[in-house]
Amino acid sequence: MSTTEERPMPAADEPESPTNRPGSMHLVKEWLQRPYVRRILWITLAITAVIIALSFVMVAFMNQSGGPASSIMDEIEKTMFVLTIACAPLMAATLAVLTYSWWGGWGSVAAADEPTSDGPGIKTNGVAVVTWITVCSLLAGFLVVWGLVELATITSSSYGSVPANQQPNSVKPVDVNVTAQQWLWSFEYPDSGNIQSSVLVLPVNVPAYFNVTSLDVVHSFWVVEEGVKIDANPGAITNTGFTPTKLGTFNVRCAELCGLHHAYMETQVKVVTQEQFNSWIREQGGNKTS
């Protein structure tokens, strides 16, 4: 090992003839003319397209059982698109370099041989490092800002302050007390004479707010197509809420392992019209007044 000899560095400090130095845009152009750079860029473009296409597939899978059924789920799906599209170019660039190297774009040495010569001694590249850090930081910053805004939006939908443009404030929300126990859900409607139900019935386009607790272990109240989830903790009350925007029957599942029959701890959400909801309340013996 050789090593004291230093590699002759490119004379950065003393450009030999400043007057002839090409402009930086010109240099970028020349760099882009390099065959491998162009190939990698093409691969990047192709992979980006594939990833963006995949984001549609992902959301299609999420909607397979009938969603999105609330504005929260809409926001979640929108966020999925935005996150995927924002990350796609960087992911694609990474995979493109990977693919190019793997494919032998810069040549390769077969497994049976041993490398006879060293590659170019690129120890670092200030431009690449700075660009990469900047791009990654900007991307992460964008993701954070988008996430924070979305979180504020869905939190306001979940905790009561309804955005002005979505629901008229005159609608009286439905309060539901959700009690989880091994291994069933029970729903209580305190505004309607505390009637009990094992199926969650909600009127469409009316905000529903939930107080959630558990009688034994930790469960998680997951209304799949509405995009809402909160743990049901023993000894504590947690809150969530959503406004169903779609008529139909959706799923409530337990999303936290809660013992033997965790898999069977599921029930249904029936989103019905206000009239059907009122008559359901009356059938159950409640005193709905609306």
């Binding site: 397979q64 041989d113 690129i122 590249n125 700075v130 992460a140 995009g227 999303a255 392992l257």
Partner: protein, 657 residues
Amino acid sequence: MSTAVAIHEEAHVPQPTQVGKPGGFLRRTNFLTALISGVVTAGVFWIVTDKITTAVAGAGATNSMALPSGLNINITMMYIGWVIGFMAGIGAFAGPIRWFLGHDLTHADAEYMAGKDMGREKFWKFTTDHKVVGIQYLVVTLILFGFGGLLAMLIRTELGATWTEVFNPNFYNSIIGTHGIVMVIAMIIVISGPIGNFIVPIMCGARDMAFPRLNALSIWLLIAAVPPLVSNLLMGGIRDGWTVYQPLADQAPIGMIGYQICIITFAFSTGIASVNLITTIVRMRAAGMTWSRTPILVYGILGSSIMGLVWFPMYQYSQILALSDRTLLTSFFVPASGGSVWLYENLFWLLGHPEVYVIVIPATAGMLEYLPVFVRKPLFSYRLAVAGIFGVVGLSAVVWVHHMYMTGWAPQSNYPFMLSTEMISIPFSFLVLVVLGTMWRGKPWKRLPMMAVYAVVWNKVIGGITGVFLSDTPVDQYMHGSMFVVAHFHYMLMGAGLFGAMGVTAYFFPKMIGRYLDEFWGSVGFWTAFAGFQVTFMSMFVAGLQGMPRRVLQFDSLFNVSNWISTIGAYIIGIGMLIFLYAIIESWRNGILAPDNPWGGKTLENFTTTPVPHENFPVLPVVTSGPYDFGTPDPYELADDAIMQQTEGAEKVSAQS
């Protein structure tokens, strides 16, 4: 790294009087005596505890100090007895007692304990030589992976058989928990154990670890910790997943005690190993090995050890307190009498998240270590790699709440923790750039370790993008607790961690064993497992997106197809891993003999003979150059890159202006 200084002979050193033959008590201890002692002590503890608790109960003690559940406390004491007896039987307590009495080891004692001139039996003893400990770790890791993998096959069998319950729910829930924790333990040690112990001291140019006896203690504590965990399946199981959330775990049968004792013991093992690795790395690097000449793997192990050391006690205490809830009837996690489930979740995840990086960082650093060797280029931007590792180590402390977005614990904290979670992707992206930059314009030597890099980066990209989804609270509101999470962390822990570890093991195999890992069967196994892995977990992403919760054994027919595909993929992984295991065993016995420098690397382990001699180096090395000084500016390249160099120079100038 050519010059060297002659080491003085120990003959000059005044020795304490040698009592008896070198090694003393340790001459008579081995794995067998440990087993016997462990079992006997366990039995004695059981009987004595049973007598005492019965006597206390019989005396009609009515105050609340009376221990109510005989069985729980008996089993707890039995396991504690096992660990103490096992460690006593292997001779672990000889050191502290000698130290207590002021009988220090003579040089001859130390040589005996390091297994000098000893045959195979040294692998069955309390041997302090780091190379022996490394091999012991490797074998234990392989056994753990075998066991955990078998459980994984059972899980997938249950999930694939959508038309029936193959196992009863109690057993199914137990195997998902046991699979989880066995694999987590195996993944924590898979690099830091074998490679960290065997290679890192040699890479640092040291004769042994800083604390050789602690090194032996850490492996034997690990071996003592495993039987209680495995035995849980015979004792009602741990039907609570690997996280064993309270108070569900409080309801579990006595098998849970095995889990808790295992974690408490394993935490000691990890803590001791971390202390040892950190001290070795900080204090025992060879002369001339400055921090800017230290190989990146050493940094990775250092970072991972720091995280393990600092955060593991949180997990340990969560299990101590949970065990106390069970046996002493305290109420840390029992809400009816003043406990909090959120307390458990916080304590658990305070380790639980750094632990992910404890797993991923060494695998990544190991990959960065050998990547330059296979492209014969310098590591791209060494400093950025170091910054990336320590950035992750630092930020890992402040992201744990992202596992608790949906628990309802302080919903306001979701905002700052979403911020910190997204931020940790920045130092991680540094490491990606280092990989890409090192590959850039290099000719890869297509051996198995190199190919593993491609596989791992692919997995890491997918794990990374899905991690971006999960770190985003709104999306996590849909994903949390679903199969999507399971697929994501398998991409990180298995895809990046385990496949990385396979590459790293393949790279260091010739140095450790003296023979190359069989290229053909190793590759066949690796790529079969990789293909199966993609099938299994891609399809699991789909199940998660469709809304399938995790840890269920029966589910909506909507998820049938994706689960069938997953199960087929899982069997392919199983076959691939078996082939890889065959490659390891076969190469261990009959592989091609490796030369001193198996791959043409420039780190210190390549400058001693293969197999590595007892004292590692005949003379201690002095480092005079960096570990990745590859790359020659040959004329052809220079001509080709004339434009490039101009570009670099010009852009530097323009950046300054």
